[in-house]
Amino acid sequence: MSDVTASHRWKIEKGLSGDFIFKAVTVLFAFSILVILMLMLYEMVSQSLPSLRKFGSHFITGMNWDAVQEDFGALPFIYGSVVSSVLALLIATPLAVGTALFITEIAPRRLGGFAASLVELLAAIPSVIYGLWGILIMTPWLQQSVQPFLQKYLGFLPFFDGPAYGVSMLAGVLILVIMVVPIITSITKEVLTAVPRSQREAAIALGATRWEMIRMAVLPYGKSGILGAIILGLGRAVGETMAVTMVIGNDPKISLSLFSPAYTMPSVIANEFAEASSPLHSAALMHIGLLLLVITLIINALARLLLWSMSRGAARGAKL
């Protein structure tokens, strides 16, 4: 009898120690990520200190970027990053959600599966390949066909003003659209397949058409998941470097026209960091990296807030 209890207790203890080790390891992993983030922040702040001290808030509002005179203002880069990413998402979101709906709701199963695997293939292409395709095929096409067409019929708008070079904000936005669509599509597809059958059946039982079923039962259920997909897409768009650098024209100017070249934050870091030999120039580039991190954090926080308010709204709706 006592033998049995002894072995029993021993077994429990073994289980407990396993639990303890598992817990310790996961805590360690979780904290190490936090520590890495903190170290990165510390390192970036300390490296950008010369620029932070010298320029202060002028760095964010300044329009001049001159490595020879050592005067650095990052506004054109911030403008380029934000505008190109937001425009790309505005175009990509309906495209991607539409594709995902087609795959999950409309297409016959086999065709849907085929389309889904094609989309996933697009997501796996390295960005430098997109960039090469962009500069060799897309920009000449934009310059010779799309831009003259837009200029002829919509040229009175300030967005389609100026000479057509091919490389432009427009090219940057389009390449981002192509890169972001597969990500949003594949996540949205997963979200939509997770919508319970009972939701759809209930809608159809109430006499809804297929469109009404999608609008009333499927999309509201997947709302927060789709938003998450869009945020991931935005993250990719803001951080994308190579492909955008190759087609956006790399001119730090702020212009309303989509035809004029622009510049983004990751692009200027990639372009200039390797050859930046003066300490202040390196610090200014680090400073841009820091701003990029802050902007990403703000976007993430906003997304969290949106998700949180939405889920709270949904909970209240359920209670009512």
Binding site: V68, G166, N250, P261, A276
Partner: protein, 343 residues
């Protein structure tokens, strides 16, 4: 299953350890990093030199001149490489006396895309500066047309294309522009990346060349080797002595030969706008950076042996890769400098 994985991991670890040990005992490893422009000739030299002296292995990372300067200053590598010479402040920042050893020369050509003018465009150096400043805006501007009689230049705006990434090519080109235009020198200046008054930015030689190819009525600048290999059209320039000079390996070497007469002992000299009727105006050295006092006796000795070999034998390989070899009078000066390295 898990056992198999463990076994194979162990085998891998043993193999890796053996490889590391094998390498360490077989050869002295000399690490270098820096400029991308001379990378093809350096890797050719290192692979040829491996046949001459198998007991030494060179590892060169072409991370850009700025990175090379940072790393040699931090002493994480045994030699650095740069397309721009170090300023006095940069030399002071180094923990020991750094010396510049010129290896080969490169040139930058002005390339263009004018339908109907497939080659032989002539430009005065002052006109090149004014095009990049936005002072000359049309191809049929009388200043260009006067030099190109019989060529049908279009009444079209000039599209300027420049490098967007920091590069030694831009450094040489803006150095040249600063030399021919006081307005450029005061408004823009020279550097690996500058604030361009106008134009589109392309990443790398291939980015600029691609942009020029795709855009009619455009003008840009690329390395001579890149332009020759890709058969790009290039402009003939009128140099300061008033003669028209085509970019070539010969006219690049002529620039250095002209500079040799007043070459400073530390070789920190720009080769742009040299006098002489054969001297091409947009040329420059590329340098290796080594400490005069080597810390490691074995590595220092091997490095000096390599430098001597490069000067005696390596120079002859330059032409085939479209680099200009050092002229003889400069070679003699470099040999003297190498002798000064202590180990």
């Amino acid at each position: 299953m898990l056992k198999n994985v463990r076994k194979s991991l162990l085998a891998l670890a043993i193999m890796a350890a053996a490889a590391v040990a094998g390498q360490a005992s077989a050869a002295t490893l000399i690490n270098g990093a820096g400029a991308t422009f001379p990378y093809p000739i350096y890797s050719k030299w290192f692979s040829e030199y491996a046949k001459v002296d198998p007991s030494v292995k060179f590892n060169y990372q072409s991370i850009g001149s700025g990175g090379g300067i940072k790393q040699i200053t931090a002493q994480t590598i045994d030699f650095g490489a740069s397309d721009a010479f170090l300023s006095d402040a940069q030399l002071k920042a180094a923990p020991g006396k750094l010396i510049h050893i010129p290896t080969v020369m490169g040139a930058v050509v002005v390339t263009y895309n004018i339908p109907g003018v497939s080659k032989g465009l002539k430009l005065k150096v002052e006109d090149v500066a004014d095009i990049f400043l936005g002072r000359i805006t049309k191809w049929n501007d009388p200043r260009i047309a006067d030099d190109n009689k019989g060529v049908n230049l279009p009444n079209q705006p000039i599209v300027v294309v420049h490098r967007s990434d920091g590069s030694g090519t831009t450094n040489i080109f803006t150095d040249f522009l600063s030399g021919v235009s006081s307005e450029w020198s005061s408004k823009v200046g020279k550097g690996t990346s500058v604030k361009w008054p106008l134009g589109l930015g392309g990443k790398g030689n291939e980015g600029v060349a691609g942009q020029v190819k795709n855009t009619r009525y455009s003008i840009g600048y690329v390395e001579l080797a890149y332009a020759f290999e890709n058969k790009l059209p290039y402009a003939t320039l009128k140099n300061k002595s008033g003669s028209w000079v085509e970019p070539s390996i010969k006219s690049t070497s002529a620039a250095a030969a002209a500079a040799a007469k007043h070459m400073p002992a530390d070789f920190r000299v720009s080769l742009v706008n040299q006098p002489g009727k054969d001297a091409y105006p947009i040329a420059g050295f590329t340098w290796l950076l080594v400490y005069e006092q080597q810390k490691d006796k074995v590595k220092g000795k091997k490095l000096v042996e390599f430098l001597n070999w490069e000067l005696a034998k390596g120079q002859k390989m330059a032409g085939a890769l479209l680099y200009a070899p050092l002229p003889e009078n400069v070679q003699k000066m470099v040999a003297k400098t190498i002798k000064a390295i202590k180990y």
